[in-house]
Amino acid sequence: MKPVFKRPKSLYDVPFHYCPGCHHGIAHRLIAEAIDALGIQERVVAVASIGCSVFLYDYFAVDVLEAPHGRAPAVGTGIKRARPESIVFTYQGDGDLAAIGLAETIHAANRGEQLAVFFINNTIYGMTGGQMAPTTLPGQKTTTTPLGRRVIGEGAPLKMAEMIAALKPPAFVARVAVNNSKSIFQAKKAVQQAFRIQVEGKGYAFVEFLSACPTNWKMTPCEANRHVSEALIPEFPLGIFKGDL
């Protein structure tokens, strides 16, 4: 018998600390699978960012550096420039990448750094307990928007994939979801492509994951999963915004 599905070897065999139904776990696995598929585990240096996923190094069997909140793209730039033979990826939440780290995000993309940036958009600050994120949906209630987010005054959901795709240098920009088999399949391809581009020295890649946070959305995992298709995807359309698979 052959395995149809087996844990990728770039992940340690330990349980995740994520909440039940949290999509971080799926994103982790897709990244690990791509690393395995391309055979680059020994070259990878990952950048953990501050958010629920800060413990990246407890899960990925690759070298990891923990960056200050929001600075992962700059930290990744330093790693890659100092050691071009490394394959560098960052893994960042929406608070990290689109709020405090927005300048670093856009400038690294705009320099066309050889990085794969994985962006976990769960429309909320997970780790700190459910505050508004730059991608929070209009009307969404969070602990800091108790009446629901108002676009004027609190901001419109930032469309990071589109913003980055509008820059000249990035080679590959996609937005994916992982809330059903079909979208997971697409996501898998996008993740692989993001790494392949770097292996081939073709530049900067950005993959945005729409991701469920049942805990802070105050939903069951299944409700949260459904919320991704019903509320997130209409606001953040899936697709390849730059480059191709």
Binding site: E42, V62, D63, V64, E66, I87
Partner: protein
């Protein structure tokens, strides 16, 4: 310096250029920075030179991005540096704290200008506290080296890389606007140190287990252990303490000063000596760890100290903490401007005569 060297191997460069030259000589191959007066000669020099030596120069989008890039580069084992001036250094504090906590070595240059806020672009020593007390949050310190000449700007920058690597710590080179902008002949001695192996560097988990560098410690007791580990390391760094004593042997009073204030003071002290006042100078070269023992030793003999600094009184605390009980420690403060040797001489004279009427 012997005359022959002096004549044949000297180059006339700015203090800022000397820092860049020292860094490259010491094997620094990664520099990221953001423009700010009065340190722009460092990034500009690096922009021209780094590609030629196979290194990387990046003009970052901000000071924060610059230090973060340095953090990334240094984590791979590369010798990496950033530089800025006071407001920009404030912005780097969070990341410096991260590097201290993650034990990632690097060199940060502060060509100090006047503050607070935007302040001015003249030389200042207003960042002494920030430099010597860690600056950022949490229990950490950085090694701090304070040159007082262009030559030392070159030499101490090379040393900074060695200390950084040896102790896996950020090292701060605290220069100032005068030292950075002035030109002086510098003897480019070349790097005599030694790069060491970095078995902690993130180079990809090839033929070994994967590694990580982090500053987050949540399990009970871990962070306390880390804090004490750093504390012990800072104690060990006392081996690297450096200072200069000038005419202290027979001195009845000691002036303590560092950086550009110290070089101006030397002239003032010469003036005092010609008037028969037995005054000497103690110049800390490492500001943290502070040469407290050496000062304490002097204070066994001498009990009058004058601390002269270009701020409203910062190093004076370290001097007070160092000298023996009973010694008097006074201040001569010049915030926001460069005093003349004459002015400092008058201060010395006033105080000297007050106690030797």
């Amino acid at each position: 310096m012997r005359k022959t060297e002096a004549v044949y191997n000297r180059k006339l460069v700015k203090g800022n250029e000397a820092i860049a030259l020292g860094a490259i000589a010491a094997g620094c191959r990664f520099y990221a920075g953001y423009p700010i007066t009065p340190q722009n000669e460092i990034p500009e020099f690096m922009a021209g030179r780094m590609p030629a030596v196979g290194g990387t120069f990046i003009q970052a989008e901000s000071e924060i991005a610059a230090i973060s890039m340095v953090m990334g580069a240094a984590a791979t084992g590369a010798r990496a540096m950033t530089s800025s001036s006071s407001p920009g250094i404030s912005l780097k504090q969070e990341a410096i704290s991260y590097m201290a906590g993650s034990e990632i070595p690097c060199v940060v240059v502060n060509v100090c200008r006047s503050g607070p806020g935007l302040g001015g672009i003249s030389a200042s020593q207003g960042d002494y506290f920030q430099a010597t007390r860690g600056g950022g949050h949490g229990d950490y310190r950085t090694f701090v080296l304070a040159p007082h000449s262009v030559q030392e700007s070159y030499d101490l920058t090379m040393l900074a890389f060695d200390i950084a690597d040896r102790y896996r710590t950020p090292v701060l080179v605290l220069s100032d606007a005068v030292l950075g902008q002035m030109k002086e002949p510098v003897y480019l001695r070349g790097y005599k140190g030694r790069e060491i192996r970095k078995p902690w560097a993130l180079t990809g988990a090839k033929g070994r287990k994967a590694r990580y560098l982090k500053s987050l410690y949540l399990n009970e007791g871990e962070l306390t252990a880390r804090n004490w580990k750093l504390f012990r390391k800072y104690r060990r760094m006392e081996k690297e303490i450096r200072y200069e004593m000038y005419l202290t042997e027979d001195a009845e009073a000691i002036v303590v000063a560092f950086g550009c204030a110290a070089r101006i003071l030397k002239t003032s002290i010469q003036m005092a000596r010609t008037k028969g006042m037995r005054v000497g100078m103690f110049r800390p070269i490492s500001l943290f760890p502070f040469p407290s023992q050496a000062l304490a030793a002097i204070s066994n003999r001498v009990n009058r100290f004058l601390v002269c600094e270009l701020n409203t009184g910062q190093m004076v605390e370290d001097v007070r903490l160092a000298v023996k009980p009973g010694a008097t420690v006074e201040s001569c403060l010049c915030p926001g401007y460069i005093p003349t040797p004459n002015e400092l001489f008058r201060e010395i004279k006033k105080r000297y005569l007050a106690s030797n009427p």
